[in-house]
């Protein structure tokens, strides 16, 4: 099939519908070269797929409203997410590859060096018009659903891109009002950097004008169980000279949970959700009967 024989607008609609049917809550498209303005070489779609033209981004649900509502903090810390956005990305990639004959690959997003992913899913979501950065740890907020989990695919298919949202999702109107009355917002007050938390910011004329996020501190708290805690305990274990103490470290609940968490390492799983718990964006979607 030649490019001129394809109506890419129709194809884009079909791909999005396919992604939604496969489990994505939202799907958006970004132009691959739009990344060049924001990220250095080595982190652009073209670096992973020569001839990349488009990036298709799928957003999926994280915890259900019931999980947010649970009084037992172990639940939201332990619950496994379906993370259907990853499945949706593969289903859409298969469609592009098998039916239209263009290259399509999953965009690599797992950290490979420190906390830096090969390709930023947050930027991909913003460029695909799915949301904007927030005061809450820079998390991308979708205007209707708030926090979603994102995955993407890169393709050589030249699809019409969606537009970056014209209006910032954060701060929400209620947060602007709160800022005007109290000089803070729900997320900033839940985790203020000035009191040992991770967030700081400033709003002027209804817009974010300053934004501080202590990623290192947040990481150590949001991902209490994971590769980091596993490595920390492992070091302690191999350094421990007393065999009995070593044994108690090895079989402790903390180390066991750290091992369990490794199973979800490819997924974005966290043990702290407090800035998003109080975020009004998407709260309607989290209120059930």
């Amino acid at each position: 099939m030649t490019d001129s024989a394809i109506d890419f607008s129709d194809v884009a609609l079909r791909i999005k519908e396919t992604g939604r049917k496969a489990g994505a809550k939202v799907v958006g498209i970004a132009a691959a070269d739009a990344f060049n303005h924001y990220v250095p070489q080595g982190h652009r779609p073209e670096d992973f797929l020569p001839g990349a033209k488009s990036v298709i981004v799928a957003g999926g649900d994280g915890p259900t409203a019931g999980a947010w509502h649970s009084p037992d903090h172990d639940v939201i810390e332990n619950i496994g997410y379906d993370l259907r956005e990853n499945v949706a990305v593969h289903v859409m990639a298969d469609l592009i590859d098998h039916e239209y004959g263009y290259y399509a690959i999953q965009a690599p997003s797992r950290e490979v060096s420190g906390h830096t992913p090969p390709m930023s899913m947050m930027l991909a979501a913003v460029l695909a018009g799915l949301g904007t950065r927030s005061l809450a740890a820079n998390i991308i907020l979708h205007p209707q659903y708030g926090m979603l989990y994102y995955a993407a695919l890169i393709t050589t298919m030249p699809l019409p891109p969606d537009h970056v949202l014209e209006k910032d999702v954060c701060p929400a109107p209620s947060c602007v009002k709160m800022w005007e009355r109290f000089g803070t917002t729900p997320c900033l007050s839940a985790c203020p950097a000035s009191q040992g938390g991770c967030l700081e910011g400033k709003i002027e004329n209804g817009k974010i004008v300053e934004n501080f996020y202590d990623r290192e501190r947040c990481h150590s708290r949001a991902q209490t169980y994971g590769a980091g805690s596993f490595q920390k305990m492992l070091l302690e274990i191999v350094n421990e000279e007393d065999a009995e103490k070593r044994k108690s470290l090895l079989y402790s609940d903390f180390f066991t949970r750290s091992i369990e968490a490794l199973a979800y390492y490819k997924e974005s799983i966290a043990q702290c959700f407090e800035c998003i718990r109080v975020c009004p964006v998407g709260m309607k979607d989290r209120a059930k009967m």
């Binding site: 259900t64 019931g66 037992d72 274990i237 090895l250 609940d253 199973a263 009004p280």
Partner: protein, 308 residues
């Protein structure tokens, strides 16, 4: 406290107009909802689906392990079963087949999808019960009890729950505030099967008891009187060490051995050994129910239809 926090609490101020409307709408079709959910569960990949009353747990489990401890105002549990080994798995001559492929992940995926559906379609809270353990071998909530209360099976001499048609299944559950008509517990126990009663009368044992007898170093013991289980013994800890050979405990055990080993070469052999490598692969399914021993279920006549 900031005002935004008060909006998050369940509060006593009553539901919003939006929530009230949804609640009214939801009550209109209450009668058909159970069937709709069960049909949906099967379409998502469950073999069976049943509904349990959340309040029924109070009689059988202590505080802290009941549905409302995980989700306030819990009314119902939607329990799905499936993902059991396929007929081909059972006849596979390679032990590695079921040791490495049989896990509960497919049924957990179904339950997660049901939780999302209940919230988006009916507007009630729905919580997928975390499938892992909370501490030690303690689950967040007993899925066996949930399945039993939902009428999906009954306990067996083999320690597992048996569905009358399909026998051994993996189970997952969703707790919800959605009020649903609960199914009843099975009136007739699935175990012992008629052929097992015959065997007991002839030989004083059953297929599962004879394959793993506690008195010969196995995990099971029991007694049948008048076609019913009269005594049952299951050594959970022993079974655990054999069924979950490759899981987290296996990993911890080798790691302990490796750190205790002073000889560098021996340490290297332990760390690169097949057993330790298997435990690492197994960890990637750590939140799933998985096992490396299925012998009591291999010989169980219940659910034979799924093994042919």
């Amino acid at each position: 406290m900031l005002r935004v926090h008060s909006r998050l609490s369940s509060g006593n101020e009553g539901p919003s107009e939006d929530v009230s409307n949804r609640r009214m709408e939801a009550h209109k079709s209450l009668a058909s909802r159970e069937e709709e959910i069960k049909r949906g569960a099967v379409a998502f990949g469950a073999q069976v689906c049943g509904i349990a009353d959340a309040a029924a747990f109070a009689e059988e489990t202590p505080e802290g392990f009941r549905p409302h401890d995980l989700l306030p105002n819990a009314r119902s549990l939607i329990v799905v079963g499936g993902a059991q080994p396929r007929a081909g798995d059972w006849i596979s001559p390679a032990v590695d087949t079921m040791m490495t492929t049989s896990t509960a992940d497919r049924i957990n995926s179904v339950a997660r999808k049901i939780a999302q559906e209940v919230e988006s379609r009916y507007g009630y809270y729905a919580l997928f019960v975390p499938p892992g353990t909370r501490k030690g071998n303690q689950p967040f909530l007993s899925l066996m009890l949930a399945a039993e209360l939902a009428g999906l099976g009954s306990r067996s001499l083999a320690g597992t729950l048996l569905h009358p048609t399909y026998g051994f299944l993996y189970y997952a559950a969703v707790i919800t505030t959605l009020p649903l008509a609960a199914d009843s517990r099975l009136t007739e126990p699935v175990c012992p099967a008629p052929s097992c009663v015959d065997m007991w009368e002839r030989e004083g044992t059953t297929p599962c008891l004879s394959i793993c007898p506690a008195k010969s170093g196995g995990c099971l013991d029991g007694k049948i009187d008048n076609g019913r289980i009269a005594e049952s013994f299951y050594d959970r800890d022993r079974c655990h060490t054999r069924v979950y050979t490759n899981w987290i405990p296996g990993f911890q055990k080798v790691l302990e051995e490796a750190t205790n080993e002073e000889d560098r070469e021996k340490r290297k052999m332990l760390l690169y050994g097949n057993f330790f490598t298997s435990t690492l692969w197994s960890l990637t399914f750590s939140a799933q129910s998985q096992g490396q021993c299925f012998e009591c279920m291999r010989v169980c006549p219940v659910g034979k239809v799924t093994k042919k």
